[in-house]
Point group: C2
Chain length 383, copies 2
């Protein structure tokens, strides 16, 4: 189906140019081989021959760790599920894991943290300070304590290493890099507005008054669109984390606690256990239907919107937006972000598309990895 | 108005990390100091102190050339319009210009071609082969003869240099890089659809039946939204060039002549001189109004759409799109592009926003320049 099925893809990612016999090596470790980590490993494996051939880039997947195990000296066969050769299972010790990967420090090394673990994020500064690049879809570092976030960036500066996290917002959509490019070229951010939850986007799109909101939540839950406990989506915290990441990227010192988050979970259901929450879901219906009907009466639709305004205030809430608004025309589980800047003032710069799912999230991590590969010769350059 | 007015912007563009005393130097020459070139020079000058301080990157604007003059040994004062010091005006000789910039070849050198000249594009292969990076918003290389385009890329490979052209499509919007990242991470392109002319987008947006089409063209012309001869926009050729650039980026060997382009210029007006064309503009009104009314009767709106379909066919024409279509909701002079790929199949990845203007076009060129800076240590790396 591809229009380019028969044509070799050119790879101008600016890996160091060298004789074909001596490709540039990047040693890679993957932490968290869950859905995203497994998709990343599959994408890496598929891309390896092409990158070696066309970009002289030798991506070596050398180790994988989950919360209980480490798998060292991986090779492609191992990743195909066959265990032989030098693979060794050990109790996971992330310090040992990183030390093994880094070896004598003579070859560029990268860790892809595909976990959602705060504990793993606690290691970033050490790794970056030791010259190990880190790429991740894990939102914990970017939206966690400000002091840790600052220490991570200081460590990257000191270690000459890179910390990249495109996939933390909008999965594979070019959001963080786009903001970075705007700022690096001297633009000034005025406002960011977006929809950063595929789950809430889907619920808002489906909520047309024909079926009660609780029924839609149950359907989303059974389709796997929500977290195991749907309150993790409905509370808005995950969206607030993404907003904090973008705000910090723009130079703000925003913390998660400063974001005004409107939870869609009724107060009475906030603390009950999950089964009771699911059983009492229909308590959401009356207030949600009132908001929907009110919006419709004004020719508006409900959308779950995150916003960083021109005064630096950050908010996440359900809004009634006009039918002419860009957010009214998103589909399925689309994410959308619009950057209003000094240069994009009359009309914002908009990026839109599916913002969740293992494949596109892994692709966002892979893009970061290729950015690192494109620059990795630099730190050992003699200039 | 900026939310980040008082906070220093972090610049993680991965310039080589080095002691503060020895910043990494990039020697820059700008060709074509027109609207875009002047905006680029202004942006560079504004960014220089910040990049030197925060990214250890020393961007040196060393030469400017227009079609008749060269300005060598520029410094900031010279660019402020004061002529003193070592500046020398010479008849423009682009070979000499590039040779001067490259010097002994010991420092990374970059040429930003902000002309729209085919002759300048004819030099790219020589420059890239000599190790000089080229960044440009000039569409001539990307949409010109396929053999030249291939020679340019081969020269970049041989010279260890980079050729970047983000601003050829959608100005500062992340379009070419987004496509590149999709392909580099192993995605496959199925279809590209977009609106790549701000002029035609504006005309379509304004054309609601209240005023004849010719009146809108006259207004766009007087506002400076069109080329001096509006037929350069209405013919669709400029849009076809952008489609060729995207198709080739995806590995197709498409040539401009193979794009099916529907010109909005009536046959009878195609060859007359500009004054006569402007005088007879109302000959467009009857056919255009018929199309508009036909679209409206089907609850559709007219949009100027470029498309590369799944069979590799490229077309540029006026289409009646449903009011629910993403293209129906663009505003002002917005460009939009949607990539349908193996990973973005149900819902495409969409980038939208102002796609023309000196400031945003220059920012696109500047983004390319920073990508080169981020990788430039690599080619002199000892690994």
């Amino acid at each position: 189906v591809s229009i380019v099925a028969d044509i070799p893809q050119r790879i101008p990612i600016a890996a160091p140019k060298r004789a074909a016999a001596t490709p540039c090596v990047l040693n890679i470790g993957v932490i968290g081989p869950g859905k995203v980590g497994s998709a990343l490993i599959a994408q890496l494996r598929e891309a390896q021959p092409r990158l070696r051939r066309e970009a002289n880039l030798d991506l070596r997947l050398r180790a994988v760790a989950d919360s209980r195990h480490m798998w060292l000296d991986c090779d492609d066969d191992a990743l195909n599920g066959r265990a032989h050769g030098a693979q060794i299972w050990r109790p996971a010790d992330l310090g040992e894991f990183a030390g093994y990967l880094r070896g004598d420090g003579m070859q560029p090394t990268l860790l892809a943290d595909c976990s959602a673990s705060d504990a793993v994020a606690g290691h970033y500064a050490d790794w970056l300070g030791a010259g190990i690049h880190v790429v991740t879809p894990n939102k914990r570092a970017g939206s966690g304590p400000l002091s840790r976030w600052q220490a991570i960036h200081a460590a990257a500066d000191a270690g000459g290493s890179r910390f990249q996290y495109e996939a933390t917002v909008g999965a594979g959509l070019p959001v963080v890099q786009t903001l970075r490019d705007l700022l690096d070229t001297g633009d000034r951010l005025i406002e960011v507005e977006g929809m950063f939850s595929g789950t809430l986007a889907w619920l808002c799109n489906q909520f047309d008054g024909k079926r009660p909101f609780s029924e839609l939540v149950r359907e989303a839950h059974s389709l796997g669109y929500t977290e195991p406990d749907p309150r993790d989506d409905l509370s808005g915290t995950d969206v607030a984390r993404k907003l904090v990441i973008l705000a910090r990227e723009a130079g703000s010192q925003l913390s998660l606690a400063e974001v005004e988050v409107e939870s869609l979970v009724p107060q009475a259901l906030a603390e009950v256990d999950r089964d009771e929450f699911m059983a009492r879901l229909d308590e959401m219906d009356t207030p949600m239907e009132a908001r929907r009907a009110g919006a419709m009466a004004n020719r508006r639709v409900l959308r779950h919107v995150a916003r960083l305004d021109r005064d630096g205030r950050a908010s996440v809430n359900l809004q009634a937006v006009p039918e002419t608004h860009a957010f009214a025309h998103t589909r399925l589980t689309d994410n959308i972000v619009q950057f209003t800047t000094r240069r994009y003032r009359d009309n914002p710069l908009i990026v839109q598309g599916p913002g969740a799912g293992p494949e596109v999230t892994a692709a966002g991590v892979f893009t970061d990895l290729l950015r690192v590969a494109g620059s990795m010769g630099a730190r050992r350059c003699a200039c």
